[in-house]
Symmetry: C2
Subunit: 149 residues, 2 copies
DNA sequence: GTACTTTCGTTGACATGTCACTGAGATTTC
DNA sequence: GAAATCTCAGTGACATGTCAACGAAAGTAC
């Protein structure tokens, strides 16, 4: 086939980057589970909920904010509710809706997890890149992630 | 808590990079499934197998090469075998062992998938970064991925 | 206000990956 | 060469995520 192909440089860069795409989240996720018993998904839900002053967020809005499907968040919220990390309230604005609320337990778990997680992100990622590299990576990440799906 | 925390720059860079970590594999994986009916894991197995002249690889060596657990590869190979993409042979060197072999069907599926996949990787990733950025990304990725687990 | 359409959260079936364990077969040690 | 140890592939239970449905409730058009 006279397919479009990758140059040696592109091939090696893509391979190296793919390794990073797999290894970095795996390592940070493992740290998180070890330190706090939370999955990366748990942490994302808890930390996003905690951003709102009343620790409440409509399911659909939280799903949109995290770029999750509503189905995924519905499943995950059910599991987190069973563990007491969040609870659900009816939405007074919309009888179909559902408000997720970070419980005190959830907040304490998050508060305990956060500093360990920051150490993990630092040691496994931030400490390894220069500020120039970090700035470039940020621009590049935003540019690519902002492309249409 | 007087926890170690992230600066605004670090925080934004980490957020942007996390978006990329999620979005890029998802998009390329969706393209792959749409174009070829293969998952990213399928593609990685097929393409790695195809690198050997005889299209054969011992399960443990293939798992090590791809940095997968043997359990994961065992499960995945069983599914791929059921679809006729690969088959399994006893290892003449080691009666515990298992040789995975890319079938003709698997090879054809890979050959059909590859050019589409290259287009996808190009349009969603390579075309979006300059050669300087790509070189930096490669160095940075290798440096981080090579850290101990 | 009544039908059509859209949105919301949930559900169930399914695919994938992890983990702990197993039995068969190598390898090492003495 | 027998016994202890390690390695290999496979397995089952489980957690997570996707997808296509669904019923209920809003929103829209007429």
């Amino acid at each position: 086939m006279d397919a479009p192909w990758l140059s040696a440089d592109e091939e090696q860069a893509w391979r190296a980057f793919r390794r990073l795409l797999v290894a970095l989240p795996a390592r940070i996720g493992r740290d998180l589970a070890h330190d706090s018993g939370l999955s990366p998904a748990d942490y994302e839900v808890l930390s996003t909920l905690s951003e709102k002053p009343d620790r409440r967020w409509a399911l659909k809005d939280l799903a949109a904010k995290m770029e999750w499907s509503r189905s995924r968040l519905s499943h995950h919220a059910a599991r987190m509710q069973a563990r007491g990390l969040i609870d659900k309230e009816p939405d007074p604005q919309d009888a179909r809706g559902c408000i997720l609320h970070l419980t005190d337990v959830g907040y304490r778990v998050l508060a305990e997890a956060a500093p360990h997680h920051v150490v993990s992100v630092r040691s496994r990622f931030l400490d390894q890149v220069s500020s120039d590299e970090l700035a470039m990576l940020r621009k590049l990440s935003t540019r690519i992630a902002d492309l249409p799906d």
